[in-house]
């Protein structure tokens, strides 16, 4: 993610998208990365910006998905 965003200027709750930091290619790559890295499939109804908008949101989302696996 550091390729996209300055990691040292973002805190765990900052919204990447509201800060205008990223674009849809980033979003796609983030989604693909999570699916590959954690071996999960993200359904359409989970492709909600709320699950991906901050470091904390992504961590919680992955945690919940893995718990259900």
């Amino acid at each position: 993610m550091g390729n996209y965003i300055k990691i040292d200027t973002i805190s765990d709750d900052d919204n990447f998208f509201e800060k205008g930091l990223v674009n849809s290619l980033f979003a796609m790559q983030l989604v693909s990365f999570i699916e590959k890295e954690f071996g999960i499939v993200i359904d359409n109804d989970e492709l909600d910006i709320e699950n991906f908008q901050s470091i904390n949101a992504v961590t919680n989302f992955i945690g919940n998905k893995l718990a259900l696996k």
Partner: protein
């Protein structure tokens, strides 16, 4: 594959482009038909590359000497299997393998590429007669964007090199480009390019619907439709006309029938910006904005753009998902890209 159109021709060199084997010290001679074919393809906007088992520097300087090297992007000259080179070219240009033709004189190489990349069109170079007349090599229209397509890609390659050597984040890099997006109502002169976009674009395409020149001409004349064409420029030059949006307006119900963008601009954040622009336009007209999305094996990125751009699923019609924009608040447009209404 019926109706397929080739976007890139990948040439072998020894005994295909020239007679003789360069690495065996032959005094190789350009095959007389080859330059005309290459220039013909170039003029119609079909990209070309090279995939040859040779020493890179030696082969490239030979192509230079023959006055052909300017025609090729992403040349793959090495001792690796040719299927690797062909796959690499598809990846770097960001096109599907079924849009690639591979030309070689050796059955072994044609079979190796055909085995590893079954969707690539393999052509034996023994007989090059009629090459330019093949249906696959003839786009329906030749537009301004197609005649300069190679140059547009070569500019992108230059930008990519600048980007690779840029120290900083992608976001900071985008800020250095001084990008300008021009969104205009399509006029008749844009329609060939608009049709070409509907035919050529798969990844950044919301429905996969193909619209013909004639259909688009009807739509631009209609009161209920708005056909928008999008051009992107930056300080290094133009990317050409890279996007198309088709909106049906039924009173205050606006429906985005089709949204697509050239894959050359996939890393520029343009899709989200166009969506935000359209949502804001709907809001300022007191309209609701719906969008059609038909999932394919390649366009998931569009779905994500919609969802992350504040659209929610609102229903389904057959294969088509109807999305609805949250119009309760205006979208903030990024400050690294200027928008002009043409």
């Amino acid at each position: 594959m019926r109706g397929r159109k080739i976007k890139c021709v990948v040439w072998d060199l020894d005994e295909t482009v020239w007679r003789g084997i360069l690495s065996e010290g032959d005094d190789v001679k350009l095959r007389p038909k080859v330059p005309d074919i290459m220039r013909g393809l170039d003029e119609r906007g079909i990209l070309q590359s090279v995939c040859s088992k040779n020493d890179f520097d030696q082969a490239w300087s030979k192509l230079d000497e023959m006055g052909l090297s300017y025609l090729f992007i992403y040349p793959q000259i090495s001792w690796n299997p040719k299927s690797m080179g062909v796959k690499e070219i598809a990846k770097l240009i960001n096109i599907a393998q079924d849009a690639i033709a591979f030309v070689d004189d050796q059955e072994f190489e044609l079979a190796e590429v055909g085995g590893e990349c079954p969707n690539v069109m393999c052509i034996n170079s023994a007989d090059l007669d009629g090459f330019l007349e093949m249906d696959e090599m003839n786009p329906r229209f030749i537009t301004e964007d197609s005649t300069r397509r190679r140059l547009l890609y070569q500019d992108d390659i230059k930008r990519g090199k600048i980007e690779d050597s840029f120290v900083g984040t992608k976001d900071e890099f985008l800020r250095t480009l001084d990008m300008k997006l021009t969104i205009s109502l399509a006029v008749e002169g844009d329609l060939k390019r608009a049709e070409e976009l509907t035919v050529r674009t798969h990844q950044l395409n919301s429905t996969g619907d193909v619209y013909s020149y004639e259909q688009l001409r009807e739509l631009i004349g209609s009161q209920t439709y708005e056909v928008l064409i999008v051009q992107l420029d930056d300080k290094y030059g133009t990317y050409g006309k890279i996007g198309l949006a088709l909106i049906e307006k039924d009173g205050i119900r606006w429906e985005l029938k089709l949204l697509l963008m050239s894959c050359r601009v996939i890393s520029r954040g343009v899709g989200g910006v166009i969506l935000s622009y359209l949502v804001n336009k709907a809001i300022s007209n007191g309209a609701e904005l719906f969008a059609r999305f038909v999932p394919s094996d390649r366009n998931r990125i569009m779905y994500i753009s919609y969802k992350f751009g504040g659209f929610r699923e609102d229903g389904k019609k057959g294969d088509c998902i109807i999305l609805k924009a949250d119009t309760s608040k205006l979208r903030v447009l990024p400050d690294y890209i200027a928008i002009e209404e043409g």
